[in-house]
Symmetry: D2
Amino acid sequence: MTTTIKPRSRARDILARDACISPASVYDALSARVAEQVGFGLGLLSGSVASMTTLAAPDLIVLTMSEFAEQVRRIMRVSNLSLLVDADHGYGNALNVMRTVNELEHAGVSILGIEDTVQPQPYAHSGPAGLVSIAEMTGKLRAALAARQDPELVIAARLAGARSEGVEGTVARAKAYAQTGVDALFVVEVDDIEIIRGVSAATTLPLIIGSGAMTALRKELTPLRARILLQGHQPVAAAIKALRGAYEHLYRGGAPAEMKPSIASSAELDELMHADAYTTTRRAYLQ
Amino acid sequence: MTTTIKPRSRARDILARDACISPASVYDALSARVAEQVGFGLGLLSGSVASMTTLAAPDLIVLTMSEFAEQVRRIMRVSNLSLLVDADHGYGNALNVMRTVNELEHAGVSILGIEDTVQPQPYAHSGPAGLVSIAEMTGKLRAALAARQDPELVIAARLAGARSEGVEGTVARAKAYAQTGVDALFVVEVDDIEIIRGVSAATTLPLIIGSGAMTALRKELTPLRARILLQGHQPVAAAIKALRGAYEHLYRGGAPAEMKPSIASSAELDELMHADAYTTTRRAYLQ
Amino acid sequence: MTTTIKPRSRARDILARDACISPASVYDALSARVAEQVGFGLGLLSGSVASMTTLAAPDLIVLTMSEFAEQVRRIMRVSNLSLLVDADHGYGNALNVMRTVNELEHAGVSILGIEDTVQPQPYAHSGPAGLVSIAEMTGKLRAALAARQDPELVIAARLAGARSEGVEGTVARAKAYAQTGVDALFVVEVDDIEIIRGVSAATTLPLIIGSGAMTALRKELTPLRARILLQGHQPVAAAIKALRGAYEHLYRGGAPAEMKPSIASSAELDELMHADAYTTTRRAYLQ
Amino acid sequence: MTTTIKPRSRARDILARDACISPASVYDALSARVAEQVGFGLGLLSGSVASMTTLAAPDLIVLTMSEFAEQVRRIMRVSNLSLLVDADHGYGNALNVMRTVNELEHAGVSILGIEDTVQPQPYAHSGPAGLVSIAEMTGKLRAALAARQDPELVIAARLAGARSEGVEGTVARAKAYAQTGVDALFVVEVDDIEIIRGVSAATTLPLIIGSGAMTALRKELTPLRARILLQGHQPVAAAIKALRGAYEHLYRGGAPAEMKPSIASSAELDELMHADAYTTTRRAYLQ
């Protein structure tokens, strides 16, 4: 299981080079392995997908930081992906941010985003999540940087206010966040490329771009220093559709053998489990 | 999340009635929810599938009992399935069996099978797993029964020697195991219905039948007291195939939007996450 | 390990009878066993002590709910104590309260207090923790009650505002909290018995009293419906002092044999580990 | 929390220098902090003590590897100790040894011993644990070395056969184990210094010496390349005695205030929790 490319070095390299790529949205050991086998070097575990797959719960911050870290650990135990995670608001105040950094760094994350939203949903508040003040957020970011043990770990400031604060507000935040010494800016809910243009012009950090209504292409974003472009969580939704099809077939009394064309073969499973390496290991140490 | 049917009551009912059904092979919170939504009341978490999905490892007992229990807990936290698990050999000797029963019972299992194989693979042993002696296995089964706290939990003796010991040997084991007071016999690797006929004639317990080359139908097995017939783990293999397709499409630069026909819709995801119930809850307690 | 008295029944009984007792402050499997051996039936795991012993951290809500639940599970796996826990503010909003109740109930808690403080410490706020509004707190309490699966689990409303809101404010809160249907009121930081008199007169629920400068005796508190009086966390502090003495002796090169008078004997350790029961078990199932 | 001395570097240094020291037997975050505060740089978590403190169970391998790793993680999260652990037999066969190395390395262990005993207790076997063959043990050790990711992690071969195989047998094993490339030999249950003389003469590796009836002093052992001498687990036994005293006092109705002389003060607890550092952190990032 030793590898020559270290996940965090690859992550730093991705942010440094002049290209914009999209990560594989993964959610457990198995999906990480499949993504890696297909060729992905960069993975993404979002809080929403982690909540969905480990708790079958919507993205309402009911997943605990410990549960999120455990899922990261499961992924990193079996893959060499550079894993980008959205650690939500850092699960509390600046002290909680520090624990979040400690635990996620230990679990193997490569790029960790802390977001400027007020979470979880406050009492009697509806609508989109509000934002914490710039002062509070920069405190959190400085805390995150102080808590980091491995200098290769990328700490990203995640900006969620594009819709509520527009270009001007977002740029002001981006500049303040950049001054804390974070390694990247992670801008989400981007509906208009003007936000990216503004942030790019006002700072020198590499950008990670989250989903929204923006239809800009990677080649337009690359000159703006966008290095990573998120594009949704289709894989888990594909797995769900496949699961439903499989369960429905079997529930109706369909023959398992008829499912052959739509399921991975034994050989594919063996390859995914690194069965050959286990056989070699057993021969080497157990016989 | 309260329900009227309790998982263990349903499991006891399944074993008591005059019918043979097949469980949904599930492996995490998400697959359990999909299976339940489709209509399944009985789920199965096998050691091999748990190892595959949590460790991306082949079925070589490298998963720990704690890791297996955690996966059971994840499933039972979000579903009301009656969960049948194969707890392998009970992860060690009779004392380990007792801890296994304690932990899996606490995690929410309904039917727990302890197998008579020698595990993990002994040094310098190749070929199929050997069997422990009848005396050792009955010690383990009596230990399992003594460790049980909830009398509704079903303890099943899992017989893995059909191929190595044939009808006579398997029947002798079945009789000895039945005398310990276990609730069911779980016969695996059945290539020939004669094994089932023999076990059925020699005992009065309900039977759970594992995979093998046998092609008998449920209607032939029902009169032999077969109540549960395993039929493989297609759903996880279907999810893997779907994941691979999704990652390959995206890795080649395919547009996410093109994947729409092959992925679950937002509405389906919401239904799976019980989004409506969360909305109701938020309205009731958070506004 | 079956017992005749169930922890939650004993807890309900303690709250129902006309007496006021103090719990054993416990913090891990070992301390719980010692407390039980000495005779205690009621245990207490406070958030502060859990944080101290599992994270070596002060009481600043850096412990996650999952970590707290795991510590409860460790205690309840090996003891039959009725465990009272202070689940802080429920680790977030009303949705988080529901998860907290689910996890702690599953882990084996008997009495669970949710507190009305704003936690964790908000940005730019110093001094004692503020209080959430009555509306927010009653939302949390109703959520806790809705999340409970076992009707025997005691849900207590924990009032932390005695110092900041005085008798009148605390009584107003107590009345509002009582109307949600909680089973008990848990009043902390009580410096003056007038607070207890006020709460007692205004409600009919049993009271749990937390530490403060109040010097009232249990016999004065009993007629006010106080059923449980906390009196600090001396045991863990005693263990720490003993540990320091032991490490200092050994670090200075002192002989281990000289420590005999100040350490538990092998026989005591065996009794604590239920060594005899294990020997019986090994004879019964492993020979 | 950054430190200049890395735990594994210190461990390598301890094994390399011409001196023999004894570790602090620790068992949780709190005891590790106390030991470190007293001055210890080397800690020890034995399987027996881990089982006692996390499960209140005797040393019968009922603790799972995951549970053991979690306890290591708790210790290493809050201390900078070089932690020596006895990972028993590696929790199964050579494949399980590999997982054990992976998990314990990740959890932060500095020196990891794999023992040559047959564990857990086989059916119908009483008396001391038997030994696996030299071939099986060298397979396990080679597996452990192959699984190691950080070359600084010390892998030690633990020899438990001094009593059953005497000097000759133990020396033969020591030579064979040394040839696998392990970093140290860990000889336990040593009743007679002749065992150590034999092992020392036949190999060139540093030695770790476990408890037994031997009364040799460190200064006699040092010239034999003994670098670490275990001397029992008094600290946990001291904590237990202190806990019992505390609970008995309180159970009898004794006043908490009377316990002052025998418990750690608030100031001591604050120091142990690094309260000052937390205050500094709160000022820096939360105000």
